[in-house]
């Protein structure tokens, strides 16, 4: 299987995610510049983390209007798999492919640390390799990760099993030094969501940053392995 990573001016996790993809897929992803208008023949599109267009106007707002995104939106609506991490999640909500918005963190601080996540739905192409209910340790690094949606939308996300990940307590209980389980004030502790058809995932935490034992953990790797087992062949 092959993935495309869309690179915007200001993306800074494009190479990290390329390494994680290569590890699971055993081949290099195609790096696609935001100004291109055609996508290569691939099985997965990844919108990486970073600060596309310097977060001007709103995080993800400018990237959501870039030429390549029109093609991404068209394919995503047809059921094509799309993964948005951090700034990629912000871009996905700005395009309207995912509901809600990502506001400034409730304590106004840029938060950069590991958090614990509960996998809420394991029956998807993104999460099938997470076998147990043990929380995952994955890093976050963002200023605008405070997930907001109105109450009916939040209810609908839960009713349709579209909540992908929730911030939770770690296995050793709360640790005051690390701060609260929910790092940004997100509604209902939501860290990542799917669309209705579950072919699109947007998440604030960075699975690509803990997908190699040399980096101190591998809890992010099953996400990429899940995609391989669903899409390869």
């Amino acid at each position: 299987m092959k993935a495309a990573v869309i690179v915007f001016p200001g993306s800074n996790c494009d190479r990290d995610v390329a390494v994680a993809l290569r590890r699971s897929m055993t081949r290099d992803p195609e790096m696609v510049w935001h100004g291109d208008s055609a996508l290569p023949k691939v099985d997965l599109i990844v919108l990486p983390g970073g600060f596309s267009y310097g977060d001007y106007l709103r995080s993800g707002a400018m990237a959501a209007q870039s030429p390549i995104i029109r093609e991404v939106v068209a394919r995503a609506k047809d059921g094509f798999p799309v993964l948005g991490i951090c700034n990629g999640f912000q871009i996905l909500v700005e395009t309207g492919l995912l509901p809600g918005a990502l506001l400034r963190n409730s304590d106004l601080r840029f938060v950069c640390r590991d958090v614990w996540l509960q996998v809420e739905n394991r029956q998807t192409i993104f999460t099938s390799s997470y076998a147990t209910s043990i929380p995952l340790r994955i890093p976050v690094a963002h200023h605008d990760g405070n997930y907001y949606a109105d109450e009916p939308t939040l209810d609908r996300l839960e009713e349709t099993d579209a909540v992908a990940f929730r911030y939770c307590r770690g296995p050793d209980g709360p640790d005051e030094a690390d701060g609260a389980a929910n790092p940004n004030g997100s509604a209902r502790d939501i860290a990542g969501i799917f669309n209705d058809q579950k072919n699109i995932l947007g998440m604030m935490p960075h699975p690509e940053r803990l997908a190699d034992a040399a980096l101190g953990g591998t809890d992010g790797q099953p996400l990429f392995d899940s995609l391989v087992s669903a899409l390869a062949g």
């Binding site: 106007l57 707002a61 907001y148 004030g185």
Partner: protein
């Protein structure tokens, strides 16, 4: 024609920046400030001279880019 677009958070959407400003005003000794909401103000120069057409164009700009209507309202003023 000059247009002024005000973008504000919808009522009910939490505004942590407004809250921080409210607190800072209190620290500076400004009493009687009960709430602060922070928004955006954008000035736009248009070639269009017909106010209704300009308004339509600006509304479309707000819907597509300037505002995120999930969380923000916008108001358009023309000179």
């Amino acid at each position: 024609m000059k247009a002024r677009v005000h973008i504000t958070l919808k009522p009910g959407v939490l505004d942590p920046q407004g809250k921080a400003i409210l607190q800072a005003l209190g620290h500076l000794g400004f009493d009687g400030v009960s709430d602060v909401r922070q928004g955006k103000f954008i000035e736009i120069e248009l070639d269009e001279t017909e106010p209704n057409t300009a308004r339509e164009k600006l509304a479309s700009m707000c819907e597509k880019l300037l505002a995120n209507t999930v969380i923000e309202d916008y108001q358009i003023d023309l000179d």
